[in-house]
């Protein structure tokens, strides 16, 4: 469970590569045992942030402390407290899964016997028993990811950085990585997870930071972010799309001050009373004798939030996402 103790403290971090400002004055904190999702589109600065926190890159300005150690003045201490898995699997393909775990165990200072025992444990936990003595180059994408993460756990990290851990995985493998991250949380390991999958941030993170063009543009729980964009809405698809204007007319009084939004084949109306609004809408359509093909009560998805947050207002597509429907 997250505690009030802060294991990651980022304060005013900026980093440029030549003319490109990868990070601009980024600040956030992560509590012990918390899973923080760092969400952003490609090139937002997520990996640069992870690089700064895992001592691979020096920030130009600002301070960052990981597990109580400053990343610039005490990088060696930080390295003893973290695990990092990058966007690509970084293990030795010529070695077997077991040999890789032995290698990383011994590099972390375990004796051969301890490394061997720990390797056996991790192989069991990560469900790699059948593949333990095969070279990693023969593994499937999901198995490679699992051995990659397992290699970071040969000694217990205080903070884990998972940089887009499920990029390029099939849904089943993605689910198995999600289960693993769930266990990080149970074990009280502070986890910073970068992802461009909103569903992933939603499913795994206690809190989400949305970052775009090197700047934090939103922060909060998934629920809070959804609230920011708007509340529930109701989506109705008529049987015949020619009836859309009639449908809009029939439903207009449900929202006295605003007209319902006409999307391509459906109408979306705000549903402040949830199911009651939906039932009222259906009753009116029944009275007006308009056939309904589909109806749904929806919450804005994180995708809607994400698109709303990362797009400039001027470039938002008209009538596109539900985010625009909301008052």
């Amino acid at each position: 469970m997250p505690t009030s103790e802060k294991t990651v403290i980022v304060s005013g971090i900026s980093k440029s590569f030549g003319d490109v400002a990868a990070l601009r004055d980024i600040s956030f904190e992560v509590s012990r045992g918390e899973v923080l999702g760092l969400l952003g589109p490609n090139g937002a600065g997520k990996t640069t942030m992870v690089d700064v926190l895992s001592t691979l890159t020096r920030p130009d300005r600002g301070h960052a402390r990981v597990a109580g150690h400053d990343v610039v003045s005490h990088p060696a201490r930080v390295r003893r407290s973290i695990m990092l898995t990058g966007q690509q699997v970084a293990v030795d393909n010529l070695l077997t899964g077991h040999q890789n775990l032995m290698l990383f165990g011994q590099l972390q200072g375990l004796t051969q016997a301890a490394a061997c025992a720990r390797a056996a444990e991790l192989i069991r936990e990560f469900d790699l028993e059948d593949a333990a003595n095969r070279r990693v180059e023969t593994y499937s994408g999901g198995m490679r990811r699992r051995i990659d993460i397992a290699c970071g756990l040969v000694v217990r990290p205080e903070v884990a950085f998972l940089d887009e851990p499920t990029t390029g995985l099939d849904p089943l493998s993605r689910q198995s990585i999600w289960d693993l991250v769930g266990r990080f949380k149970d074990a009280g390991i502070t986890t910073l997870l970068t992802t461009q999958y909103l569903q992933e941030a939603d499913a795994l993170s206690d809190r989400i930071i949305v970052i775009d063009r090197g700047v934090v543009i939103a922060e909060g729980t998934a629920e809070q972010l959804k609230e920011r964009t708007g509340s529930r809405y109701c989506e109705i698809v008529p049987k015949d799309s020619k009836e859309l204007p009639a449908m809009a007319e029939a439903l207009s009084s449900l929202l006295p001050y605003e007209k319902p939004t006409l999307a391509s084949d459906r109408i979306a109306i705000p549903a402040p009373d949830g199911a009651n609004t939906l039932m009222e809408a259906l009753r009116r359509l029944d009275v007006a004798n308009i056939g309904v093909a589909d109806v749904a009560l929806r919450r804005p998805s994180l995708d809607d939030v994400f698109i709303a947050l990362t797009k400039k207002p001027a470039t938002r597509a008209a009538g596109g996402s539900a985010a625009e429907v909301m008052p």
């Binding site: 895992s54 001592t55 691979l56 890159t57 020096r58 060696a76 390295r79 003893r80 973290i82 695990m83 990092l84 898995t85 990058g86 966007q87 690509q88 699997v89 970084a90 293990v91 030795d92 393909n93 010529l94 070695l95 290698l103 011994q106 590099l107 972390q108 200072g109 375990l110 301890a114 720990r118 444990e121 936990e125 756990l153 000694v155 217990r156 950085f161 266990r183 990080f184 149970d186 074990a187």
Partner: protein, 267 residues
């Protein structure tokens, strides 16, 4: 998730170096890399000695085996340097160097481990070259110190070229393309040297290059150390050995700071 609350151990740099060296060396015994490195020397010996032996008899004083084996040893070392570049490049591209950078491992430890693997490969290649040489009639004619000197010089050349190879590999983004490009200078430096035929067999305008380029300077020094049955090989003098050592020193003086820069720039 198992409880793993034991004290985080303190990794020793020597042990890390050893573990990483074993990582480089152990697979080469199984995946045929070592076998290929060894057969390379044998193939070079056969494919150069047999066709050229009679052809060169007129131009080379003494036995052609005696003339040829130093360049066989150098070729083996050049190929080791290319393997070194490939290995280093693969480690960079695969992200494993990045990962090591986030672990409690000193920046020079993975480099030192790769270099140990490279030296092991050079030593194997040298041993095979000498063995092949003995089969076709090559001998060390001078005292044991000179024999040791011959081997040390080959290893020193191996160290330097593998270090340069490791550096090139580290900054290269594409291992396959890089290996292909590295073959070209290696072939030129060996073919346009006194490795296969004396300098006076090359066109006059090319001879200054042939004589002074590093491969030839290495060969003059190695041949002096090996000696021969008659008196056709120059004695071991500063004049024979110094240019080879100067080339090596020069390469290290240039590559060393570049290497430090390459590691520093990733920060």
């Amino acid at each position: 998730m198992t409880d793993w609350t034991g004290m985080r151990p303190n990794p020793s740099p020597i042990r890390q170096w050893w573990v990483l060296s074993v990582r480089v060396i152990a697979p080469s015994l199984r995946n045929g890399e070592l076998l290929i490195a060894m057969s390379l020397s044998a193939v070079f010996t056969v494919s150069l000695y047999l066709p050229l032996k009679n052809l060169m008899a007129a131009f080379v004083h003494g036995s052609y085996a005696q003339y040829l084996i130093p360049v066989i040893a150098l070729l083996a070392v050049y190929f080791s340097a290319m393997s070194a570049a490939l290995r280093s490049s693969t480690d960079t591209v695969s992200g494993i160097n990045r990962r090591f950078g986030s672990m409690p491992i000193a920046p020079m430890t993975p480099v030192a481990a790769r270099m140990s693997g490279n030296l092991y490969r050079c030593a194997t290649a040298l041993a095979t070259a000498i063995l092949c040489g003995y089969l076709i009639g090559f001998r060390f004619y001078r005292s044991a110190e000179y024999t040791i000197g011959f081997c040390l010089l080959v290893m020193l050349i191996g160290f330097t070229l593998c270090f340069v190879g490791d550096l090139i590999g580290m900054v290269s983004k594409n291992p396959e393309a890089m290996t292909f490009i590295l073959v070209l200078p290696a072939v030129i430096l060996v073919m346009v040297s006194v490795g296969l035929q004396p300098a006076d067999q090359f066109p006059g305008w090319l001879q200054p290059f042939v004589r002074n380029q590093p491969t030839s300077q290495f060969l003059y020094a190695l041949r002096a150390c090996a000696g021969d049955a008659g008196h056709s090989t120059a004695a071991v003098t500063t004049l024979n050995i110094a240019p080879a050592l100067a080339w090596l020193a020069g390469m290290l003086v240039v590559a060393g700071p570049l290497y430090a820069l390459a590691i520093w720039r990733r920060r």
